[in-house]
């Protein structure tokens, strides 16, 4: 299933400035290493509940997030550690959240699936497949009504396209020309159900174009392509042309969650995709182009390792919210908005 790399890809791929290329690599490594640590901490029972890892898909969040401005909004799914991290939620607040500590970005109320952050306009971690799309169009509607040239980026998996909320939202966004950037992360499996086993039409861009929405597929294993596509789409969305749809073709290397024995796909398929590891291939390409050397990789890895070690330290040192405040935030503390 992996699309073969072609010469055309190389020509299309934007030329990256060295510093920016290193930044993209750094962001992908932050996600990868954070999540590897998460898996370890899950086994150590420090993190509980559901834990959905993004490993293999890092290029999408690391690339797409580059197209967003500080006052843009993000709506993501329950597989959102990477998006949160690249968006700027500090690793320590994410880790504390996974620990369930009140220093976490959602005070320990949300956990892995519900990372929220007002400072970066990160509207969650939505764990109902398709449930974030209507919220995203509402955020975009507010911007349109208030004449703000902002973008709302809405991330969701390909499994969401089977939901009614996907179609309702695509239609409404296109009908009202709302500034939404729909980012479909097609990792080919909705938990264990392959796209071809659940959809009569597996060309996801066709679904978007049927709503008169510009749509194009993106190599989701190539961070530079992800960024370029997102920038192009975000520009159109921001200029008031209405929503865009991007299908990032990617692959999840790990199980759906920590409970998944992966009976629905072969090891060979996973291994085949791992050859296109977004970090390894990007690293190799940069070295080939003379933009990166081993010492720099070592330095980035060391800085990332340090960041994650500090995040774990912060989470370990975090405190539990007193049980007495359990029902706080069911309703707002204040009585007036």
């Amino acid at each position: 299933m992996a699309a073969p790399r072609s010469r055309a890809d190389d020509e299309l791929r934007p030329r990256l400035k060295r510093e920016h290329a290193l930044e993209l690599l750094r962001q992908m490594l932050r996600i990868r290493r954070l999540e590897e640590k998460c898996a370890e901490l899950y086994s150590a029972a420090k993190i509980r509940g559901f834990l959905h890892l993004y490993i293999g898909e890092e290029a999408v969040a690391a690339g797409a997030m580059q197209a967003l401005e500080a006052d843009d909004a993000i709506v993501a799914t329950y597989r959102e550690h990477g998006h949160a991290l690249v968006r700027g939620i500090p690793a320590e607040k994410i880790m504390a959240e996974l620990y369930g500590k009140q220093e976490g970005c959602s005070r320990g109320r949300g956990g892995s699936m519900h990372l929220f952050d007002a400072a970066t306009r990160f509207y969650g971690g939505n764990a109902i497949v398709g449930g974030g799309l209507p919220v995203a169009i509402g955020l975009a509607l507010a911007d349109k009504l208030q004449r703000r040239a902002r973008v709302t980026a809405c991330f969701f998996g390909e499994g969401a396209v089977a939901e009614g909320e996907f179609h309702e939202s695509m239609n409404l966004a296109a009908l009202w020309k709302l500034p939404v950037l729909f980012c479909c992360e097609n990792n080919l499996y909705a938990m264990g159900t392959a796209l071809k086993r659940s959809e009569s039409e597996i060309d996801l861009c066709l679904k978007a174009t049927s709503y008169e929405m510009p749509a194009w597929p993106v190599d989701g294993m190539d961070v530079a392509m992800c960024e370029a596509a997102a920038r192009r789409a975000a520009l159109a969305v921001r200029s008031g042309e209405g929503p865009c749809f991007l299908e990032f073709r990617t692959y999840r290397f790990r199980a759906h969650s920590m409970y998944d024995p992966q009976l629905y796909r072969t090891k060979a398929e996973v291994e085949e995709w791992k050859k296109r590891d977004p970090i390894e291939t990007f690293e190799a390409r940069l070295k080939e182009q003379g933009l990166l050397n081993d010492a720099e990789v070592t330095a980035i890895e060391a800085a990332v390792a340090d960041e994650i070690a500090k995040a774990v330290e912060f989470a370990e040192a975090g405190t539990w919210e007193p049980v007495e405040s359990l029902t706080r935030f069911v309703y707002s503390d204040r009585t007036q908005p």
Binding site: A73, I137, L141, E165
Partner: protein
């Protein structure tokens, strides 16, 4: 101030419309969206004329996509607007349950207090118009089960006129249930009627023998029953809950403590109903005050039938309330 306050004669529908017009004029962040709220003038004509006055950006006709436009209301509310989302009937709101329960009610809590959702959702509820089993149910009691939202049931012109603004000022999601049979109810409303509180039950009639506890579409029937009971020498107090979540338990217990008997009249089905919740709270808070077991007059446990005689039989009616109270108090006539 003149001894006789000036009043205007109007319907519940007009009071609701006046409330929306007032809100749209007062706050540029307010807008209305829903199916047929604009060109059509509202399925029940509540928003008639608003499109002409406020334009299509603020009076937004939506596709038949309950989940998308309710979710859009949630997003718009978090984005700084004050949306009023209209859903044609409570039965249709089931298509938006994901957004109402998983998002509107939960986001403030899930986000550790970072994102509140100042959204108002209005919808029609209740039976009595021969609309059968998919347009007639009373599911407000269901919604009242859910922490994170507030549930209002205006039963009077004052509340139809006054609850909306207070709901819009609330930082959290508020659902307003308008009983379909009330829209044509006509009466006198103070010319300067405005916002009312949304957290207190009120006595619509004082009495000493029994507390009749009700809300919304059954308030009229309950008051009629109380009147008939008065003729039979039974003094019934009528409590209008007004808000089903949060419930004003204090007013309920205070009334029962004085009358020592309680009948709950609820157009929802009996099992797992708001009537059951009120009954439980009376047991918890005023058990030793009771002279008789708490009784309930609810809708028959069946989907709503179309045929008039069957629908009438399914719903709580004044004679059934009277009969229930007489059995409890004993005949005094």
């Amino acid at each position: 101030m003149s001894a006789q306050a000036k009043t205007v004669r109007m319907t519940y529908r007009e009071a609701m419309r006046q409330a929306m017009r007032d809100a749209l004029r007062r706050d540029p962040r307010v807008f209305l969206m829903g199916e047929d709220v604009g060109r059509y003038g509202g399925c029940f004509a509540v928003s008639k004329g608003l499109l002409e006055e406020f334009g299509p950006a603020r009076i937004r006709d939506t596709p038949l996509s309950e989940s998308a436009f309710v979710g859009a209301g949630i997003g718009a509310a978090m984005g700084g607007m004050r949306p009023i989302v209209e859903i044609m009937t409570v039965n249709f709101s089931l298509l938006a349950l994901d957004q109402i329960v998983n998002n509107a009610a939960a986001i403030l809590f899930m986000s550790g207090g970072q994102f509140n959702v100042p959204l108002v959702i209005r919808m029609t509820t209740g039976a009595g118009r021969q609309l059968a089993a998919q347009h007639s149910h009373s599911l407000e009691g269901w919604y009242a089960h859910i922490p994170g939202i507030k549930v209002l049931a205006p039963a009077t012109l004052e509340d139809a006129r006054g609850m909306l603004w207070t709901a819009l000022e609330d930082p959290d999601p508020v659902l307003i249930f308008e009983h379909g049979s009330l829209y044509n109810m006509e009466g006198e409303l103070a010319a300067d009627a405005g916002a009312v509180d949304i957290d207190k039950a009120v006595l619509r009639r004082s009495g000493s023998d029994v507390s009749l506890i009700t809300y919304g579409g059954t308030l009229g029937k309950t008051l009629a029953a109380a009147e008939e009971l008065a003729g039979a020498g039974i003094s019934a107090e009528v409590v209008d809950l007004r808000t089903l979540r949060p419930l004003d338990t204090a007013t309920i217990l205070d009334s029962v403590t004085r009358t020592h008997r309680a009948v709950i009249v609820d157009e929802g089905w009996r099992s797992g109903s708001i009537a059951a919740e009120i009954s439980a709270r009376i047991m918890e808070g005023a058990f030793y005050e009771l002279d008789a077991p708490v009784a309930r007059v609810c809708t028959a446990e069946a989907p709503m039938p179309y045929a008039k005689h069957l629908e009438d039989a399914a719903l709580p009616q004044a004679p059934a309330i009277v009969e229930c109270v007489r059995a409890m108090v004993g005949n005094r006539g």
